[in-house]
Symmetry: C2
Subunit: 263 residues, 2 copies
DNA sequence: GAGTGGTCTAGACCACGCG
DNA sequence: GCGTGGTCTAGACCACTCA
């Protein structure tokens, strides 16, 4: 309404005086609104699974039209941070939702039903607190020697060991994470992270390679050392593009395959 | 305007009489407009790289408001079928664009610049016309024995052979495709397909596995048979979800990795 | 300065979920 | 029947491109 498309909300005031070396960085209103909603999301004003205020309420709060907050929410929904449900409201997305469970797991059985019923049996091999090696620290934006928690586990589908992975987490954020917790929670591990540690994984990047397992790895996966496996290194991020988890996994691809949709 | 949100455009008339076993399948206006634009795209009313009519023109043509065609175009742009350029117009997307070249190629060098300058050197090993085997036919929605063109090639980066792949194409659509053509065109192969055959690849699905190369494959890739490689099977689709290309590739992952962003 | 896409508004009405 | 998100409109103004 009265608020101009000026940077009143994002603080990027155009310099009046000296040489404007950079572009004025025009930022549309809905982007600023998006930033405000994101801020509330980050700071836990609404928890995963909860409804956020209605579009009308937010429009009133921010003194903009419904259409503007609508566009902001549209983008956040497209990024999987929010979930819209017609007639009910807009909700903070969560990895616990039936629909998008295991959103980051792209391994599918070769034959049969999409994401076959069996929700993976977890075997925790290790869960300990240690000091971050250089590479792990760099990935997680920590300093070498900072406390991290390492979890090693095997995921089995229909009784067949299929994934062997190491998980590294910042010790500070995940203080108190136990093997018990890793083993016995219901549903996706990322859902447990949300519930028990208030950490929501928002996006991730993976690097894939074909490798041969070593003696011990082969044993855990019940294959021979001459059976190639898929090496998957994943860096998962929370809000604000902050890295929060490093995973190094070995996937058996004799019974499963990594599925990727390109568009 | 005068046109109600009735199915005047998509023909899904709600049954007046007998038991409506299915939902009336309400389809918003902008979806119908999207369908009409898609139809024009499929039938080549506007060619890859060309501008489509302005939003105002389309709004007038379809007798709807600018906002409605805008939403239709928004979705088509999100699906990479159109490209918007502020101040210039909306263009039919193409694989020849500098920006999104090699959009479907997820292999990156381990160290160094994103998509390092060298645009891959192609070596065509084979290019022949043959009858489709059962699996190839099924993938391409052909009948076993139908004509297909098979191309085998090696892609090298900085002189190092990195990808060995077989490509199968429907013989009918790609009639006359030659080894010469596969070898000497500029830019992405998919851009050549657009220019020479009017076929635009819109999306694709890949299945990844870790495998060991056989004797001959290892030779082409200049590695040993005990070096695991990434097996990538890709099915690429044109408009209308029609499968148009099957690829089976072996990627070296000792110097490169397959990169995937999850969100 | 004309034309294109991009933003923002205000208001009407529709489809959906739930009490 | 109410509240929520979803659609559609009409019009104003802004940012960008190009001649």
């Amino acid at each position: 309404m009265s608020s101009l498309p000026s940077p009143a909300l994002d603080g990027a005031a155009p310099a009046g005086g000296s040489a404007p070396s950079q572009a004025p960085a025009f930022s549309p209103l809905y982007q600023q609104i998006k930033g405000l909603i994101l801020h509330s999301l980050q700071h836990g004003e609404w928890k995963p699974g909860e409804a956020i205020p209605s579009e009308m309420e937010l429009a009133a709060r921010f003194r903009v039209s419904q259409g503007t907050v609508r566009k902001a929410i549209d983008e956040l929904a497209a990024e999987n941070l929010l979930t819209r449900r017609q007639g009910k409201g807009t909700f903070v997305a969560t990895h616990a939702e039936r629909q998008v469970q295991y959103r980051f797991l792209k391994l599918l059985p070769d034959s049969g039903d999409a994401r076959g019923e069996a929700p993976a049996q977890r075997t925790i091999l290790e869960c300990r607190r240690l000091r971050a090696a250089a590479d792990v620290a760099r990935a997680l934006a920590l300093r070498t020697g900072d406390a991290v928690i390492q979890v090693r586990r095997v995921l089995s589908f229909a009784g067949v060991p299929t994934i062997l992975e190491d998980i590294w987490l910042p010790g500070h954020t995940f203080k108190g994470l136990s093997a018990e917790q890793m083993a016995s929670h219901q549903g996706p591990t990322y859902a447990m992270f949300e519930l028990d540690f208030g950490v929501r994984m928002v996006r991730a990047e993976e690097k894939l390679r074909a490798v041969l397992p070593d003696e011990q790895q082969a044993q855990w996966l019940a294959i021979s050392t001459s059976t190639p496996v898929l090496s998957v290194e994943r860096l998962a991020y929370t809000y604000n593009d902050a890295p929060m988890e490093l995973r190094r996994g070995l996937y058996r691809t004799d019974t499963h395959h990594y599925h990727n949709a390109l568009s």
